[in-house]
């Protein structure tokens, strides 16, 4: 040993590293032998849920939950033909269960499904108005608590049984839940619905003064097929559905919230003719002031739009006419906002978040007013200023009529 002390020191170091490796293999062995794979779920054993509907049972307590589960094998084929070979088998499978809570209903699905339900990819939770009238949070709690379920699932309201929505034809898509997703994402081309996901809902529900809104989806019969239709907005106050806004009022709501991203306004011209203007950009500024007990709201909307269609033979492309158009569109927008305000005040539901604005920008005032916010909201004075600029005419100036009908 004395002859080569360094050699031994060297070997020691070597083996220490070897020990580490062995150590690691032992660890691996332990894991594999321990039976492992507790949370494993193989892809082929998953039932991927894309849509969930929550409904109340016809009688008795609890919830009735329906699922839209994708049949992967039927949906395959990058070329887009329906179904690999089945053709007749629908690419989705609708399942319906019930239980005293939503969670138990979800678990009960395992009694009917050969595969485990997998919720992480769920696109939308659709609750029926009955549930919404009884209280939404009790139905929603599971979706917030469960680790698989996401806060970015869309939350929708449907007047009938949600299973109809899930079972409806999906239009160009293969799965209606994916269609719902696309319908909602395309809201910016109409700005007639307001998308809400579970996270948004929770966030607004946490605000003491605000009321929530939910988009409404319904099924419409077209040529014998049941198709989906987005239709207005439900108003939820204190977690209960209290009323609904139609498309126009929804637009008004979006104006105030500054969420208008596109869409069109149609204005009435003399002689019953109409012109439709497309909204390009829109910006909203809201200011809420509380002077003593009086709440004053200032809403300022700036819109840039373009002439999209006209039904009159007049030449609307002159500067004077364009100014007139802008004023008319401003009037329409103000009407929309007024309509929404009227509805909201009727329901005493602060869907615009005026109270929250006070909380954020004038905390003392909020503390003063929060106790009787409903009253203050209903009595709020709202001042609306709309500024429209028609920037564009499209590709033509005046309509193509042989005779000149414009000013000469």
């Amino acid at each position: 040993m004395k002859g080569e002390p360094r050699r031994n020191g060297h070997a020691n170091r070597h083996l220490k590293i070897g020990q580490g490796l062995l150590f690691f293999f032992l660890l691996l062995l332990f894991l594999v032998l321990a039976g492992g794979c507790w949370d494993r779920r193989e892809l082929e054993n998953l039932a991927v849920v894309l849509g969930i509907g929550v409904h109340l049972p016809a009688q008795g307590e609890g919830y009735e939950v329906s699922f839209q589960i994708v049949r992967a094998a039927q949906i395959q084929g990058p070329t887009g033909e329906t179904g690999g070979g089945g053709g007749t088998i629908k690419p989705v499978w609708i399942l319906r269960t019930s239980g005293p809570t939503v969670f138990e209903a979800v678990r009960n699905a395992t009694l009917q499904s050969s595969r485990r339900l997998f919720l992480a990819h769920n696109q939308a939770v659709i609750i029926s108005t009955e549930v919404a009238q009884k209280g939404i949070m009790p139905a929603l709690d599971f979706f917030l608590r469960d680790h698989e379920s996401r806060s970015i699932q869309w939350l929708l309201l449907t007047p009938a049984d949600p299973v109809e929505v899930l079972d409806a034809a999906a239009g160009l898509e293969r799965v209606s839940a994916l269609a719902i997703n696309d319908l909602i994402e395309d809201y910016r081309s109409t700005s007639k619905i307001r998308p809400v996901n579970i996270g948004n809902y929770m966030e607004t529900a946490m605000q003491k003064t605000s009321a929530n809104t939910l988009p409404i989806i319904r099924v419409k019969e077209t040529a014998g097929k049941r198709e989906l239709l987005m239709d207005g907005t439900g108003v939820v106050k204190d977690d209960r559905l209290v009323g609904a806004l139609n498309a126009k009022e929804t637009r008004g709501l979006l104006w105030v919230l500054g969420e208008v991203k596109g869409g069109v306004n149609t204005v009435d011209l003399p002689d019953g003719a109409k012109a439709t203007l497309e909204i390009f950009t829109a910006a909203t500024k809201v200011k809420v002031e509380a002077i003593e007990e009086k709440v004053r709201v200032g809403i300022e909307v700036k819109v840039q739009s373009s002439l999209g269609a006209q039904t009159t033979t007049d030449d609307l492309s002159t500067p004077g006419q364009i100014k007139k158009l802008a004023a008319l569109q401003g009037q329409v927008i103000e009407d929309e906002i007024r309509a929404a305000l009227r509805k909201a005040k009727e329901y005493k539901a602060d869907i615009f978040g005026f109270g929250e604005y006070l909380f954020k920008h004038d905390f003392p005032a909020w503390q003063r007013l929060v106790k009787e916010w409903e009253r203050h909201f209903a009595g709020a004075e709202v001042e609306i200023k709309v500024e429209v600029q028609v920037e564009n005419l499209g590709l033509v100036t005046r309509p193509a009529f042989p005779k000149e009908t414009g000013e000469k």
Binding site: M1, E4, R6, R7, N8, H10, A11, N12, R13, H14, L15, I17, G18, Q19, G20, L21, L22, F24, L28, L31, V32, G36, C37, D39, R40, R41, E42, L43, E44, L46, V48, L50, V70, A72, A73, I75, Q76, P78, G84, F118, A120, H121, Q123, E148, R150, L178
Partner: protein, 530 residues
Amino acid sequence: MFEFLRRKLRLAHLRKKQPAPRRYRDLSPDLQTNLIAIRRELGASPDLITRCLQLGPGVASTGALLFIDGLIDQQVVNRDVIFPLLNRIEEGKRQDSEDFLNYLAQKVLAVGEIKKERELGQVVEALLEGDTILLLDGHGEALLLATKGWEKRAINEPDAERIILGPHDGFTENLRTNTAMLRRKITDPSLHFEEMKLGRRTRTGVVIAYLQGVANEKLVEEVRTRLKRVNIDMILDANYLAEYISDAPFSLFPTVAFTERPDVVAAKLLEGRVAIFVDGTPVVNTVPALFVENFQSPDDYNFPFYYATIIRWFRYLAFFLAVMSPALFVALGSYHQELIPTPLLITIGAATEGTPFPLVVEVVLMGAIFEIIREAGIRLARPVGQTISIVGALVIGEAVVTAGLVGAPTIIVVAITAIATFIVPDLLGPGIYLRLIYTLLAGVLGAYGIMLGALFTLLHLASLRSFGVPYLSPLVPFSAGDLKDVVVRAPIWAMETRPRLIGWSRLQRQPVGFTLAQEERKEEKEKDEG
């Protein structure tokens, strides 16, 4: 438990006794005795040629030339040794005088290197190395004539390290050729070679090459001591030494680098590293070897720097893919399906519909099949090897998917892994192990398992050193200046310093930016004088 193993190993080391050095006698003055003695040493090997000759014309002396057939240059022996010995000796020389051998060496023999040797053992050794031995009757000394000359392979490009642009020469099996090639790359007196013979029976020439004043003196000394400790009977390749001298022989990661390219060796020497040449193999070891070196290719320096940088990043990505992609696939596919975008999940789900095995089994199985196909492709003759690849890739892959045994995504992942593997060939070995370990861990604990594996690998890598230099440097310990050849490949004119932890004895490589070489040299001279 492992301590026992360790002690046993240590004892085994001690028990191995040093073989007692063989006693050699001196040569006797009698020619016949010497010839018999030499023949006895070598046995009746037919390649030992003994040519007895009568020196002349001036003197009447008998002598004998001995050489090994095939190790010498026959033409040189005939023309420059035998012919002068027979014809060129002047008259009047006393053939039994002490000076006679000197006279022969100085005036008669036309051979470059001649040594006098009196010990039989040395004579035999020289004979085996390709010298021609001249024994004279009546002299107790032999002349060793350097007439080495044997068949050599021509210089061609190494198969394992292909490049597109740049020098295409590679080392050969001949030590002298190799050192000469290096000399031609670095024409600087500070390039020092130190030769030693290692391997008790192979007596292989091993040469340490370094740049005096650039390489750290302690590093050279450490290489010397480690080489001296190598006690082995044969050295047939550079790896025989590498396994002996590496810092962490049990580690998966190579702490000694290999190359067959003179330009690579030259570049590494100029960074302050030490190269170890081994006779009989074109492979040269360089130390210290760092982790990031595995990702550097000579092409990086032969192409414009912006191109080299992006290619290097693709190499990092490829290594990551080669090690991680099967594990990530298993983790995503059987634990964290929520991370897969919905449309992709549906597509994958459809493709794996009805496969009987868990994903981890599929991946490990297909990975193993791939490794077998790869090995088969290497071992077989080239045309057959290609057939194997085609059969493996197309037939097995396609059939397995069609039969529904394995999902198509698995095949895709394994194929991506396979291709990525070849991009960093130096880490092929560690790659296989890491891939397997990570995949199994992912199969048991999903992404958490992969993270644990990665943590372990990180700790292990951080604990490694190669000849005193932390293996992960310059990443950790972090040295920002050295990232110029890691994160990017900086322009050549911007790489003005050597890696800090390797070349710290003389860090500056060149002046910053552009300076005229003449001026620089003058300045340097002034500095040296001052």
